[in-house]
């Protein structure tokens, strides 16, 4: 299903996404999802990939969408869950685990905030046949919260806490997300970044550097900063 509302191409897809689905997604396309997604971020990655714990469930049987997310959710006295808002966390911090994780989980779609570097797409996501969807805003917590129809299960909540636990959500018309990286590793953020970078020199023209420099402005730690 594709529409052109507000001039931006928008599609609604079922999880698991097929290879054809993935191939059809161009950067900049708006995506909504239906099916099962799971959350996993540093807490889960460390536990599975560094501590050697088996994933609590066969991930590939759930679906192929890994959301870098911690929901605003509460566990009620009767063991049920209340899910309020849902937003993503910045993904670039998880790049170090992604090669192994994609192999282990067979995830083909990573959803998060802010994307990863083009090098990470080329070296990690493209070889794994995976794409990256970014959340919008950031912080469409209420819109995404509406898309969650049920908490199917939650794992490791005692050890990792609500924020780092693995949540499995049944979602409906869940979005909006924007395709940030496609199967070839093209990046929307990179394309926009280059256009913006072209203006930076002019922006800084005439603004002299401060008297005291900082490491980072020179990479040689033997340099004086004055």
């Amino acid at each position: 299903m594709a529409s052109q509302a507000s001039g931006r191409k928008s599609v609604r897809l079922k999880i698991p996404l097929s290879t054809e689905d993935l191939r059809s997604l161009e950067i900049g396309t708006v995506v909504y999802l239906d099916g099962l997604i799971y959350t996993a971020r540093e807490g889960v990655y460390k536990k599975v990939l560094e501590d050697g714990c088996e994933p609590p469930v066969d991930l590939a049987s759930i679906g192929n969408v890994n959301f870098h997310c911690s929901p605003a959710a509460a566990v009620e006295a009767d063991g049920s869950f209340t899910v309020g808002g849902v937003t993503a966390t910045a993904s670039f911090r998880f790049a170090k685990w992604m090669t192994q994780w994609l192999q282990r989980s067979q995830a083909k779609v990573i959803i998060g905030k802010g994307g990863m570097s083009v090098e990470d797409y080329q070296n990690i996501l493209v070889p794994a046949g995976a794409i990256y969807l970014t959340t919008v805003g950031y912080g469409t917590g209420a819109l995404l919260g509406r898309g969650i129809k049920a908490v199917k299960s939650v794992y490791w909540i005692e050890e990792l806490g609500n924020a780092q636990a693995m949540w499995i959500f049944e979602v409906e018309n869940f979005g909006p997300f924007i395709v940030e990286s496609d199967l070839d590793g093209n990046s929307l953020f990179e394309q926009h970044g280059e256009l913006i970078n072209a203006n930076l020199e002019k922006l800084y023209a005439g603004l002299k550097a401060p008297a005291l420099a900082r490491y980072g402005e020179t990479d040689d730690r033997k340099d004086e900063l004055i």
Partner: protein
Amino acid sequence: MIDNKIIETAALQIMSNAAIDIPPDYRQGIEDMAKWEEGELSCFVLQTMMDNWNAATEDRRPMCADTGLPRYYLKIGNQARLADGFIGLERALRSATARATHDIPLRPNRVHPLWRTDHNNNVGINAPEIDWSFEPDVDWIDITTVHKGGLFGTDYRMLFPGDGIDGIKRFFLDTLVAFGKRGLACQPAIIGIGLGGSKDTTMVLGKQAACLRVVGNRNPDEKIAELELELKKLGNSIGMGAMGFVGNSMVADCHIEVGFTHTGGMPISVHAFCLSSRRATVRIFADGSCEYRHDPMWFTPYMRRETVEWPVKQAGAKASV
């Protein structure tokens, strides 16, 4: 005499107001920016955020799942009397935080920095932070809560007087460009700038400037007010919009706060609030009645006083808006 139960109930209410309802001044600021945003994608993001605020208010659910680091700013009237004292007030705010985390619900964000222990209630060592301030000649207390993310969008630098306004502009741009890419700063945001004081004061003032002044508010010092507007314009001329896409909406407003500083220095901090600028205030009067609002009215003339004596009788001793 203000009862502690009233304080806790009111604090719970502002936690909910902040998490769910976008402040009207900020909504207006973003609506205005969306009108002149030329970047198509950046504009799409702004429209989606406005849809999100509507969904949050309709559903009574948080507008953003990242609770940030929920915290409080207190203004205590010099004539206010608290039934359970200052310790009671702090206890009420910790209890309200834990209850709000479950009841709204908020994401339990707060963990030990080393052991990553999560109490699942946003309460722990030095959490929530409670900043105290005072107001002469009144018997009410103001409680403001702010829910602000804490990973990106803020930086500090020691500048020197010789670096001048150019140094301020340059560092302002550095911070916006660094954290604006990919939208890590969740812009367009209210940008707060702290100038002067000690290093920690600089950080505190910048944060308060971002989180505790409303869109459209200007510093009472005319020259500082001019600089605020100049920096706002500069930030919006980077060519960057929401999510770091091509556009011109980066700064919803710019607020500067100053503190007298070391004669040799000009420390600066830049803080970005976010597209879910969550703040809410309650004033609790001596009779226990409560008034809820979105403007913290934090920087009163008394807060910005320069003199040894505070001339209590002078006009303008009331909170500025």
